[in-house]
């Protein structure tokens, strides 16, 4: 009948020491208890209202008891609302766990009450300060709608951008170093600072402008350009800078440094190095921001391929394009370079031959391009072989029993060539790791082992592709050109094979012999060790 169960009354009476309570009394008591509890709660609500609160606390019940001249219940004072827990198995039963009170660490001394003032409104308009509640989302939506309708176009006022004095000084120092002393140690320190320091974000637009400006002005100075590209590299490395919004400003400059016709003094400057470096830079940008700008990589690739396939472009441009494509990964090479390999080689070949190209400079350039091609195609093939090791066909017919090849196994590892040599092939397989490591980084390749004459001087330094090319350009021309004739003879068939090379199901094994035909034994260096041993 009443919400207070009679059992409770019984239990309470027993706890008070009344054991012989007549059962007839219980319902009457229960209803009376409920009535008075309700009454007290109503008084408590009144007290709560006068304390200007909307949550009832134990204090309110105490004051309500006081209003009724009942002795208050002590021991429940708490400034904060009590945390109730649901009793397991009961729907509407809650309790406060005593354990929390006893086990809890001593609370901190409460902070003293303080008063803070702020403007809730100034002439009826709420200022947007942290003390005020954020404006309703509703109004924002409405604004957006208007914009869509084109009814009201909200024009953003130009924001005056104030650079701190310190940042101005920093910027001046960096630009000065880049322009004047890009080879000094101080500049390296500056690059480290650029790559790590936080708080440089305000300078990013200025740097972007600076780089674009300087690149267009210093196309003749490759040292300057390298310095600038390093600047870009450092900016990209800095985790505190969000460079995405400025990429569109930077990319033209970077692409210029990769595929420009003339970079620096043709004879004295090492523009190959600049192109190599920039190729890696492009790859880095594509890798990191490709997911933000969906069209970034396609656009870069398109530019590079156009350059690569345009016979009117100068050879250094071709070199840059090939390097760029190679840096973008083996799949790019497979899709875009391999199908065009055969005609391109045909085009390139005369340039490399002493008899046909009298200009030593042009010949050198051609050999550079050839080296870049070998590297790109080789890396691609290496990647394929790693991926599909079982597809290797028996290649014994092709391979010559050249003992040097077997003994001087090339390694893809940087600067650990010697150590690796000592290790058994199995272990090397394990250390070689996933092929992914090969794609993004520029892989220094030990090109030793093709022809014994220059094996000694081929210790490849950090991303020093030119050195490889040089070795080729020295005197090996004749041997290769001899093979080139062979290539020409079986031209038609092989080009068909190459054109299908992009197909996934295509037997990779067929690729290798073909490439072998093109490039000779240098290709074997790109075959992963275990496969190579299998092959031979």
């Amino acid at each position: 009948m009443s919400t207070v169960p009679q059992e409770s009354i019984e239990v309470i009476s027993q706890s008070l020491g009344i054991n012989n309570l007549a059962p007839e009394v219980l319902p009457g008591l229960a209803s009376d208890v409920e009535f008075h509890v309700r009454e007290i709660m109503q008084e408590a609500i009144k007290c709560m209202r006068h304390s200007k609160r909307t949550t009832l606390t134990s204090e309110d019940v105490d004051s309500a008891l006081g209003l009724r001249n009942v002795e208050p219940i002590h021991g429940f004072a708490s400034g904060d609302p009590l945390r109730f827990k649901k009793a397991a198995g009961h729907n509407n039963l809650y309790y406060i766990r005593d354990k929390d009170v006893i086990d809890a660490p001593l609370p901190k001394a409460p902070l003293d009450t303080t008063l803070v003032a702020h403007w809730l409104a100034i002439e009826g308009v709420q200022p947007a300060i942290p003390e005020n509640a954020t404006l309703e989302v509703q109004s924002d939506n409405r604004k957006a709608e208007y914009r869509e309708d084109g009814v009201s176009v909200d024009v953003k006022l130009p924001v005056k951008h104030v650079l701190s004095r310190e940042l101005q000084l920093y910027f001046e120092k960096i630009t000065e170093l880049t322009v004047s002393r890009s080879s000094s140690i101080l500049f390296k320190e500056a690059l480290v600072s650029l790559a790590t320091d936080s708080g440089l974000h305000p300078l990013v637009p200025y740097f972007a402008y600076f780089i674009a400006d300087e690149v267009s002005r210093n196309l003749n100075n490759s040292y300057q350009l390298i310095g600038l590209m390093r600047l870009v590299w450092s900016l990209l490395q800095n985790p505190h800078i969000h460079i995405e919004p400025y990429l569109h400003q930077l990319m033209p400059s970077v692409m210029t440094c990769l595929v420009a016709k003339k970079l620096g003094n043709k004879f004295s400057d090492n523009h190959w190095e600049l192109r190599n470096f920039t190729a890696d830079l492009v790859a880095l940008i594509c890798k990191r921001y490709g997911h933000v700008y969906h069209n970034l990589q396609p656009r870069v690739t398109r530019t590079l391929v156009h350059t690569f396939l345009d016979p009117t472009k100068a050879l250094p441009q071709h070199f840059g394009a090939i390097q760029g494509l190679a840096a973008l990964g083996p799949s790019v090479v497979r899709l875009l370079v391999l199908p065009n390999l055969e005609p391109y080689l045909r085009l390139l070949e005369p340039e490399m031959l002493l008899e046909k190209q009298k200009n030593g400079m042009s010949r050198l350039e051609a050999w550079h391009v050839y080296g870049a091609l070998i590297r790109a195609v080789g890396l691609c093939m290496y990647n394929r072989l790693k991926k599909l090791p079982t597809l290797l066909p028996p290649l014994r017919a092709m391979s010559r029993s050249n003992p040097k090849v077997i003994t001087k196994i090339p390694s893809k590892r940087k600067a650990t060539v010697d150590n690796m040599m000592q290790q058994p092939p199995l272990k090397k397989l394990a250390t070689n790791g996933p092929m992914g490591s090969l794609t993004a980084n520029s892989v220094p390749v030990d090109m030793s082992g093709t022809s014994g004459g220059y094996a000694a001087n081929i210790q490849v330094a950090d991303s020093s592709f030119p050195s490889i090319s040089k070795t080729f350009s020295n005197e090996n021309v004749r041997g290769i050109s001899a093979r080139r004739d062979g290539v020409a003879s079986q031209g038609y068939k092989s080009s068909a094979v190459l054109q299908q090379a992009w197909k996934e199901e295509f037997d990779t094994g067929n690729l290798l012999p073909l490439l072998y035909e093109y490039f000779g034994e240098s290709m074997l260096n790109f075959v992963p060790t275990p496969e190579l041993s299998l092959l031979l």
């Binding site: 009948m1 009443s2 009457g28 209803s31 009376d32 409920e34 009535f35 509890v37 309700r38 009454e39 109503q42 009144k46 209202r49 006068h50 304390s51 200007k52 609160r53 909307t54 949550t55 606390t57 204090e59 004051s63 006081g66 209003l67 400034g79 904060d80 609302p81 409460p110 902070l111 003293d112 009450t113 303080t114 008063l115 803070v116 003032a117 702020h118 403007w119 809730l120 409104a121 100034i122 002439e123 009826g124 308009v125 709420q126 300060i129 003390e131 005020n132 509640a133 309703e136």
Partner: protein, 674 residues
């Protein structure tokens, strides 16, 4: 048993019970019966049957509790299925019937049946009468009915229901047809129908239709017919400023009348007049006319300027320098309107640990007092916290200065002055008009007077028997009023230990009070859902305002003395015209308790602060103008226009105060867990 005897017995029974309609029905029945008996050769064997039927009927009335449930259920479904035009009027009948059915059942001891009745039909009335139902729910035995005042007052008084003639006829017809004597009896006993001819009233104004009066409607009407001099005080500073500014030629006449009150004031006048340069004057040009016709009762005056009345209390004199500063403020006052909204400076209390019960801001906003549940009263001097009084800084200055704590116990570095003396939670605090005194009321049933200059307790006023919920200084200072759980409001003066007047009449706690601008009246809001206006001089109740549906939490008087606003627990704010005692319009918008209300100094705006963490600004002039033009006809339908809602950052607004320059100050507690 003689047939006529039985009939007589039945008739007397019906008469005794007041079942007039049944009586009529019975007579009709008799008429029909007689021809029948004439036909059937006067056989007496039918008569005992009727007698038995009737007797059993009456005995059933006593014993059968199921009848209530059934009868009410039928009445309910009938009312709900009636025509839409009359439906809302007929539905009004349900609540009183329901409540009395329940109480009848309880009184007769059918507790179980009462419970089932209550639980099956309570949803119908949940929206309108949730709190009453909560109270009634606990009633479980006849003795509880005796104990509980609410039930008591329900039993003793009648509900007033306005109903149109046709609806009334419909109801009667139904009751006759169904022979539901129980319902008929209840309706007859507890409902007072005010039958009006013509069309049924519109649905919208049903707020005040079902009201319960302790003393009955007639008494209320009688009270509300009393005369109120709601005009402003003559010779107030504002008036003098206006006069000086406008240089009204015949101000001498007014001066002559004013002179009898205070002679010394005249000396200052030329001085002030000289000071008046580019004072802003109100655009009311017909000032002279009303000034001459002062103290006359202008109930439905269309004149925009309030009439002047003489003070009934002897007013304290104002120090010259204070007066000067007030005049300066008045001159610099910003004119607010619906187009020119005020600036609001918000004072946020932090780290109160749910302990702050009230906040009060002095006239100029420089002092803020907080009453805490740990019996302490803390006063912050905002001038010391920020840089300037009127231009509060947005950040608290961290360097706290040594506290001049009252008891010296808390001599640590505090940013406030601590006043200790109460022995219970402090429920209210109020600043004197010039900020030199604070009054605080507490649950220890005392009121204490503190000096802000000396930082000490001056007087402890004892008189109330229960917690004092509210205390308010009069607009001129010196006098103050308090309201308490003991259902009285009392008027005090600072120099007397005993109250000057005791206002008794509310049926429940007096929760809040406010002085009228002319100091001749105070308004009190109570848990009995009424607001009353009392004459300070006579101590009589002069107005009763009925319409709120829950306890009244805040009151505000318009500066021109014409209107009053009251806010309740549900978030409704009501605007009343004092002269007529009628509600101009309910202001709906807040979703939770309206803790505080404030009129702007020229009375064009009303600000309300609520537990729903908003400050709302309402346009007063628009609605009152509308009322005047349309001649009060559709007054209750028009809603006051809400101008602006300013949300705070989870900070319920405890207090609002317009400074004399019309800067709005607000105070609230940052509550994280809401």
């Amino acid at each position: 048993m003689d047939e006529e005897e039985i009939e007589k017995a039945v008739m007397t029974y019906l008469k005794k019970k007041g079942f007039k309609q049944t009586e009529l029905a019975f007579q009709e029945e008799q008429q029909r019966q007689h021809p029948k008996t004439a036909l059937h050769s006067t056989n007496s064997h039918v008569d005992p049957e009727i007698a038995c039927q009737i007797l059993s009927f009456s005995s059933e009335l006593e014993s059968n509790p199921a009848q209530y449930h059934e009868g009410y259920g039928k009445l309910r479904s009938w009312a709900y299925s009636s025509l839409d035009l009359y439906k809302h009027e007929l539905l009004r009948v349900l609540y009183p019937v329901f409540v009395h059915c329940f109480m009848d059942l309880i009184a007769k001891g059918h507790i179980q049946e009462a419970r089932t009745l209550f639980n099956s039909f309570r949803e119908d009335h949940e929206m309108m009468h949730a709190r009453d139902l909560q109270k009634l729910e606990g009633v479980l035995s006849p003795s509880h009915l005796e104990e509980m005042e609410f039930a008591h007052s329900l039993r003793q008084s009648k509900f007033n229901i306005k109903i149109c003639q046709y609806s009334y006829d419909l109801l009667l017809q139904y009751l006759h047809k169904t022979q539901s004597v129980v319902m008929l009896g209840l309706i007859n006993e507890h409902i007072n129908f005010q039958v009006s001819p013509g069309q049924p009233t519109s649905i919208s104004d049903d707020a005040e239709v079902v009201t319960l009066m302790g003393s009955g409607q007639d008494a209320v009407n009688l009270i509300n017919q009393k005369e109120i001099h709601w005009g402003l005080l003559e010779d107030s500073l504002e008036e003098r400023l206006e006069k000086a500014g406008a240089l009204v030629p015949d101000s001498a006449k007014v001066d002559g009348e004013a002179r009898e009150g205070e002679v010394e004031e005249n000396k200052k006048r030329p001085y002030e007049g000289g000071k008046q340069g580019a004072s802003l004057k109100k655009s009311k040009k017909d000032k002279v006319a009303t000034a001459t016709g002062k103290a006359s009762r202008v109930e439905t005056s269309t004149v925009s300027v309030a009439p002047r009345v003489k003070p009934e209390l002897t007013l304290p004199s104002i120090p010259a320098e204070v007066e000067h500063s007030i005049l300066e403020d008045l001159r610099n006052r910003v004119q607010l309107s619906s187009a020119a909204l005020p600036s609001i400076s918000f004072y946020t209390f932090i780290n109160t640990h749910n302990g702050l019960n009230c906040a009060s801001i002095s006239q100029d906003g420089s002092l803020v007092a907080g009453g805490f549940s740990d019996s302490s009263l803390k006063v912050w001097d905002m001038a010391k916290l920020g840089q300037q009084t009127g231009y509060a800084t947005s950040q608290i200055v961290e360097d706290s200065y040594p506290s001049d704590s009252l008891l010296g116990a808390n001599s640590g570095r505090k940013s406030y002055t601590l006043f200790q003396g109460h022995s219970g939670p402090v429920y209210s605090a109020t600043f004197s008009p010039f900020g030199d005194y604070i009054l605080s009321s507490s649950s220890d049933s005392t009121i204490r007077l503190w000096s802000t200059n000396l930082n000490t307790n001056l007087v402890c006023y004892k008189g109330h028997n229960y917690p004092v919920w509210d205390v308010q200084f009069s607009p001129v200072g010196h006098y103050f009023a308090s309201s308490s759980h003991d259902r009285t409001a009392r008027i005090w003066s600072m120099d007397r230990m005993q109250p000057l007047r005791i206002m008794a009449g509310h049926l429940s706690d007096v929760d809040c009070l406010q002085w009228h601008a002319n100091c001749n009246y105070i308004a009190t809001g109570s848990s009995d859902k009424t607001v009353r206006l009392w004459d300070v001089q006579s101590g009589e109740c002069v107005r009763i305002f009925i319409g709120h549906r829950s306890m009244i939490l805040s009151l505000a008087m318009s500066p021109d003395g014409r209107y009053m606003a009251s806010g309740d627990e549900d978030g409704t704010v009501m605007m009343w015209e004092l002269a007529s005692g009628r509600c101009i319009s309910p202001l709906v918008g807040h979703t939770s308790c309206v803790w505080t209300l404030a009129f702007s100094c020229e009375g064009s705006l009303l600000a309300s602060g609520s537990a729903d963490c908003t400050v709302k600004l309402w346009d007063v002039t628009a609605s009152t103008k509308l009322l005047k033009t349309e001649d009060n006809k559709t007054g209750s339908i028009n809603r006051l226009r809400s101008l602006k809602t300013l949300p705070t950052k989870s900070t319920p607004v405890y207090s609002l105060q317009f400074s004399r320059r019309n800067l709005l100050f607000a105070a609230g507690v940052l509550s994280k867990n809401t």
